[in-house]
């Protein structure tokens, strides 16, 4: 005859197993998942901390540049160009070089998409001007020297020189200057 106490003990064991299976084991799974989530969040937070730190460093470095230097950079490559001012500057350069100034015309800008090669090699937007002058050979050479000394780029793209009367040369120059090509978009942030 099986004693009644044995039934109770078996029942106790069954209850213990049931508690472990139904409560403790799922809790283990939940603990594991929660720990994974915590680790993920910690990793991502560390990344953001690094990014914020780098951004703060870059902002500090940028702010450490003197106002004068920033102004020069902005002059060298502005957001947009002023065709009238640049035409005037070219005219003044021509007169300073000693050539006879004839004409300067704004000849438009290069296509926006044609200069984009890849994200790492983006070139600014080109704007063209056509300058017509007359002068001696040395005066024309001096014109190119003066163009190189300008505060912003006046890049010579085309030159056409032909002999005119006497020692004079008729010169037509295509000059390029640049404006910033904005590449910042939401996808970069």
């Amino acid at each position: 005859m099986i004693p009644k106490g044995l039934f109770a003990q078996i029942a106790v064991i069954i209850v213990a197993i049931a508690i472990v299976w139904l409560n403790v084991k799922p809790s283990f799974e939940k603990v594991k998942n929660t720990q994974n989530d915590i680790e993920t969040y910690q990793t991502e937070r560390e990344k953001i901390v690094v990014v914020n730190s780098q951004l703060a460093t870059l902002v500090t470095k940028m702010d450490s540049i003197s106002t004068e230097e920033q102004r020069r950079l902005l002059t060298y490559l502005p957001n947009v160009i002023d065709e009238l001012r640049i035409s005037r500057d070219i005219m003044l350069i021509a007169k300073e070089a000693g050539v006879i100034y004839r004409d300067v015309q704004y000849a438009g800008e290069e296509g926006v998409s044609s200069n984009i090669r890849d994200e790492a090699n983006i070139t600014p937007i080109s704007h063209f001007f056509t300058l017509s002058v007359e002068g001696t050979y040395d005066q024309v050479k001096n014109l190119f020297v003066q163009l190189e000394l300008n505060d912003y780029p006046l890049e010579v793209r085309d030159v056409s020189i032909a002999k005119a009367e006497g020692d004079f040369l008729t010169t037509s120059v295509t000059i390029a200057t640049y404006a910033l090509r904005h590449e910042v978009s939401d996808s970069n942030l």
């Binding site: 106490g5 044995l6 003990q9 106790v12 064991i13 213990a16 197993i17 508690i19 409560n23 403790v24 809790s27 939940k30 603990v31 929660t34 915590i38 969040y41 937070r45 990014v51 914020n52 951004l55 870059l58 902002v59 940028m62 950079l73 060298y76 490559l77 000693g98 050539v99 006879i100 983006i122 070139t123 600014p124 002068g135 001696t136 050979y137 040395d138 005066q139 050479k141 001096n142 190119f144 020297v145 003066q146 163009l147 190189e148 000394l149 890049e155 010579v156 793209r157 085309d158 030159v159 056409s160 020189i161 002999k163 020692d167 910033l180 090509r181 904005h182 910042v184 970069n188 942030l189």
Partner: protein, 237 residues
């Protein structure tokens, strides 16, 4: 005394307390183990519950910290930095490819021989790779043509030279009694951008000349260049 009728010859044990049989030790151990299991499972359940509560709080804290870090990220600063970086890179690209056109002229001057005259000159920049020069040249003999071509090829600033359309004619407009042969040709010259990059201070060999307005007529003062006198005449064209 007569014997009792129930007496037996088998001796009877005296009234001694009977011993109970001791319970089986396996059953006691089993009981202990079963109750320990129950106790352990209850403790484990309670412990897991408390640990879960702790982890949930920790997780909520991490979420809060992450949210704070994300909010501390300044989009405006990022845009400012990106724009500045873009401006700097684009400016650098143009600065690194700045060319001295005057250096191209110096190079052409240094290799143009005395007997050659350039009638016209066209210069075109091909991206940031090279300048293409197309010159209409006049000289007095075939030998000069060949010599000029060889001189162009020997110059380090010139990467390629091609002589085209060589034509011979007689120049009867000369003041001399005998007509002179005139040879004309086109020269296609390539000058790589890397050979004529702008260098600060290198272009100050041509100080400005003084010239008055066209109405007053030309009063030209051409100072001596600082470099040694080129092979050619004072005028290329």
């Amino acid at each position: 005394m007569p014997d009792s009728p129930n007496s037996s010859f088998i001796p009877k044990r005296g009234p001694t307390p009977s011993r109970r049989g001791s319970p089986s030790k396996r059953l006691y151990l089993f009981t202990f183990v079963s109750y320990m299991l129950l106790f352990a499972s209850l403790v484990a359940a309670g412990g897991m519950y408390l640990y879960n509560v702790y982890l949930d709080r920790q997780f909520a804290n991490e979420v809060k910290l992450l949210s704070e870090e994300m909010q501390s990220f300044s989009v405006a600063n990022m845009q400012k930095v990106l724009e500045f970086d873009s401006r700097l890179k684009q400016a650098s690209s143009r600065f690194d490819n700045s060319v001295s056109v005057a250096a191209i002229f110096r190079a052409i001057e240094s290799v143009t021989i005395d007997t050659v005259m350039l009638k016209s000159l066209d210069l075109t920049r091909s991206a940031d790779e090279k300048y293409l020069l197309s010159a209409s040249v006049q000289t007095d003999s075939f030998d000069s043509t060949i010599f000029q071509r060889d001189t162009y090829q020997q110059n380090q600033s010139i990467s390629a030279v091609e002589i085209l359309n060589v034509q011979a004619s007689v120049d009867s407009s000369s003041e001399e009694s005998s007509a002179q042969s005139v040879f004309s040709f086109s020269a296609e010259i390539e000058v790589p951008v890397s050979a004529v990059l702008y260098q600060a201070g290198a272009d100050q060999i041509f100080p400005p000349t003084t010239v008055s307005t066209p109405e007053a007529g030309l009063q030209e003062v051409v100072p001596e260049p600082d470099t040694e006198e080129p092979i050619i005449n004072d005028e290329i064209i």
